[in-house]
Amino acid sequence: MIDVQHLKKTYKSFAAVKDSNFHVKEGEIFGFLGPNGAGKSTTINILSTVLQPTSGTVTINGYDVTKEQNRVRESIGIIFQQNTLDEKLTARENLKLHCKFYRVPRSKRKARIDEVLEIVDLSDNIDTMVEKFSGGMQRRLEIARGLLHYPKVLFLDEPSVGLDPQTRAHIWEYILKLKEKENITMFLTTHYLDEAEISDRVAIMDHGEIIAIDTPKKLKDQLGGDIIELTTTDNEAAVEEIKASFDRVDVELKDEVIYCKVDNSDAFISTFVKRLETPLTGLDIRKPTLNDVFLSFTGREIRD
């Protein structure tokens, strides 16, 4: 559905996107994960015909984004990072205009508008001015609008940025519901790790480069085993001690916390706690997250 080959975007001397290649299958949720400024928005802007690539080819739904812009535009829906609704119009008016921009047949407009508002639970607010909507409602209305012309691909650029956690959860509920119902291909960018987790596949981007693409599970499995975070009275001594007396443990000290990577924490922890001589002050065992994946590839946390 989306095919990207040797995509590059350069601004004067600054390379925003460096030689990117990836392929997104129909019906897939594809997540783009990376810190702010990694090149996610630039990529999504090129894919949605807002920006021109410096070089490389991108096709969406079989259409080239530089040569067949209008075909691409008809095939996609976009939910931008910032609000692009007309707040001085009602929800219905915003949706009607969208139908006209996308040439939705006149006879189908009313049914479609009712249908998309139903999906995002805004049917009761159809004639309310958008400026009276809360942030979450506006976001939902934007999602509804993005679906109005039945796009093949829905782009979501940081869809939950600036929303409170509860609203975020709701938005994701709607998006997943949609995916089940319509089998729309979704391309989303985010710097929230939990949001990336729901993707079928994740591309991790940093400094304009895609450094890994796989399912969230496989990416995490690559790291192997579990992560034990511990704090002790003397972290340096503890690190030396662990290195000397335990085999097959990957140990690292970062920001006053010792990170140990082990294959199987259940078997390891009982002997570990018994044998460690430096007194422990804190202990936490967890499965690796995408943040650990990002950390292992770049040596930094995603929030840095």
């Binding site: 807002v50 931008f80 119009l89």
Partner: protein, 273 residues
């Protein structure tokens, strides 16, 4: 086509909803009517007809088409300002990522601004009885397409300027250094006869001049005026020595509008993202 209608329709809906703007946009033309028409009327009349034996120069009759043109110009340009707001508030992106072609976006926006200006211009005619002037229905009907065409020219000018600017502040500046001189040097408010040569060049190149002139020729019964008064009122325009005809004015305005729309389209294409 549907895209043009949608963009146009949005401006119209918002125009009728925004009553403050509707009333506010009348303040300037009315101020000019009062200051120029009523306040300076007598002085103007004796000034224009000084040294002649003409008595048929009516300044209110002269200035009214000018004030209507000014309303058209100001409203057109200010309405085009809304594309800067659309860009700031993000709505422009919704339009730019849709399959509506760039030239249709420009045309839709131009027609939207022009319609708004046209409606405001028509509303000015409500003031006629208070000024003691009148217009016959036939002339009024003739005037409508001319007013709409002039509004299209001014709107496309505003659109081009707005598409080149990044901020509303910049737009205010342009209004001050472009729009006001265009009004003053168009013959809208006072006759531009016996001007220095360099002013004459500006007047000749100013599109507002021709809009105002077209309206005057329809609204003022030119033939009933003495040749002397016609000359004093600046009704015999010349283009570097050649007399200007109504037909050539229409061709000039249509051509100028087309050129501006094309330039605005290029500017839209350039500013993606």
């Amino acid at each position: 086509m549907e895209g043009i209608i949608a963009i146009w329709q949005r401006d119209i809906i918002k125009f009728f909803r925004d009553r403050a703007r509707l009333i506010g946009s009348f303040s300037m033309p009315i101020l000019f009517l009062v200051v120029f028409g009523v306040g300076m009327g007598g002085a103007m009349e004796s000034l224009v007809t000084a040294g002649t034996d003409a008595t048929d120069f009516n300044y209110i009759e002269f200035i009214f088409p000018g004030i209507v043109s000014m309303t058209l110009l100001m409203t057109s340009v200010f309405s085009s300002l809304s594309i800067i707001q659309d860009r700031d508030f993000g709505y422009m992106r919704e339009i730019l990522v849709s399959p509506v072609s760039r030239v249709n976006i420009a045309i839709g926006k131009m027609l939207g601004s022009a319609t708004v200006a046209f409606l405001q211009g028509i509303m000015m005619f409500v003031l006629m009885p208070f000024l003691g002037i009148s217009i016959d229905p036939l002339s009024f009907l003739q005037l409508l397409p001319v007013m709409f065409m002039i509004a299209c020219t001014f709107s496309s000018l505003g659109l081009l300027v707005a598409s080149l600017l990044n901020s509303t502040q910049g737009f205010q500046l342009v209004v001050n250094i472009l729009v006001m001189p265009m009004v003053f040097l168009s013959g809208a408010l006072f006759p531009l006869s016996n001007m220095p040569a360099w002013v004459d060049v500006i007047v000749t190149l100013n599109p507002v001049t021709y809009g105002v002139d077209l309206m005057k020729h329809i609204m003022i019964d030119v033939d009933s005026l003495s040749a002397q008064v016609q000359e004093e009122m600046g009704l015999n325009l010349t283009f570097f020595g050649y007399p200007v005809t109504t037909t050539s004015e229409v061709i000039f305005l249509v051509g100028f509008t087309t050129l501006l729309i094309l330039l605005a389209t290029v500017s839209f294409k350039r500013q993606n993202g």
